[in-house]
Amino acid sequence: MGYVFDLRGVLSGQYLDWFVIGVATTLALTCVAWCLAMAMGIILTLIRMIPLPPLGWFVALYVEYHRNVPLLVQILIWYFGVPSLLPRPARQWINAHHGEFLLAAIALGLASAAYIAEDIRSGIRSIPKAQYEAARSIGFGYLGAMGYVVLPQAMRIAIPPLINQTLLLFKNTSLAMAIGVGELTYRTREVESYTFKTFEAFAVATVIYLLISFGIMALGSYSDRRLKLETR
């Protein structure tokens, strides 16, 4: 068919710059959403530990919503729906400060938190009751025993599933293009439509996604090795 695969066209000048910006935005979005997800995941876990039924229902509802509504829909709700609930000055501030980035990060982070909370919970379940009891017998209360003894161990046990969640979160950042966040997929589409070099543009994006995924996996297995509990 005479198609010549040539990367130079998409990896030079302005197009190269777009890719670089795209990667930077994807990484930034991943980092911000990840921090939010971890914080929220731990908060949800802590809330669930409080023995008050309504709080448990709240967390269950949170988890079910975020796991069962398509992520793209959640992002669109945050982008189109939530700002309209805010007072005008807040809306203007958001629009002036790359609101789409922030709202995408919130949507991605909160959704990921639902999975993270579940992973931490299974981690907690796998810690023997004797650990909790030993902490109590030293004089720790419920929260102290959980916070200083059970949770730190549960988090270490949860490292492998948390790495998975991080990878998913990273890949899901591409959905943010739907609301105009200039991340890697968005920029790739841009390069493609300017150069008509479809295969080249997406080949570059694919390789970048793969490399970063491998990087996350390597970082993850490093921390797993460093922090792994040597059980008896």
């Binding site: 030993a134 017998s137 720790f140």
Partner: protein
């Protein structure tokens, strides 16, 4: 120091303690012996309310531990508990296991807590293992760290629940040595153990339990002498030697 008054404990329909009474004076060492399931663990666990009771009272220093005004977390700091399975915190080093309570419960500074922790480890002969993780210690070393962890909280009483029965035989001695030293220092102790050599050497009294009750109590020499016709003697004979009954 500790008084059990007609203590009843039920697990659902099963009665684990039936009207147990007894007293442990300051500086005394009592050894609890009895077949598996006779309620030994349950009895000492009531002292720190790891088990709640349904009848009778448990008093520590004259205070009913079930009464409203008692701060259970305070009480537990004053009553050390050593478990059969050590229960060290695997995510913390040996010294980290010891300093956790000091820094978070006592509000001690890090340096001071470390110093105190090192002193406790030295007491059980493990100063050089301070920064090892529990996973890299032998069973005997772990149990000694667990003892040091309890001692760091300045307990007035130490409770031991079969501290040597999970250990390989060659490690039993080092843990018993630490316990003997503790007894010699005047610590009030209740030890569930079948180490009769230990009992003869340091126990003021042996309590023999069966089916949730203390059937027999007396001085080790009286209960374990070959001429004695005690329930304990029969029990020990039936298990051949002191170590294997759990």
């Amino acid at each position: 120091m500790i008084r059990f008054e007609n203590v009843d404990k039920w697990f659902g329909p099963m009665q684990a303690l039936t009207g147990v009474s007894g007293e442990v004076g300051r500086g005394e060492v009592k050894v609890l012996v009895g077949p598996s399931g006779s309620g030994k663990s349950t009895l000492i666990r009531t002292v720190t309310r790891l088990e709640t009771i349904q009848g009778g009272r448990v008093l520590v220093d004259g205070t009913d531990i079930a009464s409203r005004g008692v701060d259970i977390n305070r009480l537990r700091q004053r009553v050390g508990f050593v478990f059969q399975a050590y229960n060290l915190f695997p995510h913390l080093s040996a010294i980290g296991n010891i300093t956790l309570g000091l820094t978070k419960l006592r509000g001690m500074g890090k340096a001071e807590a470390r110093e105190r922790g090192l002193a406790e480890l030295a007491r059980v002969g493990l100063a050089e293992k301070a920064d090892e993780m529990p996973g890299r210690l032998s069973g005997g070393q772990r149990q000694r760290v667990a003892i040091a962890r309890s001692l760091a909280m300045d307990p007035q009483v130490m409770l031991f629940d079969e501290p040597t029965s999970a250990l390989d035989p060659e490690m039993v001695g080092e843990v018993l040595a630490a316990m003997k030293q503790l007894a010699a220092s005047g610590m009030t102790m209740i030890c569930v153990t079948h180490e009769m050599g230990f009992a003869r050497e340091v126990a003021d009294e042996i309590w023999f339990m069966e089916r949730g009750a203390v059937l027999e109590r007396g001085k080790p020499a009286e209960l374990t002498s070959t001429s004695a016709h005690s329930r304990l003697q029969a029990f020990l004979a039936s298990t051949r030697h002191g170590g294997s009954a759990a």
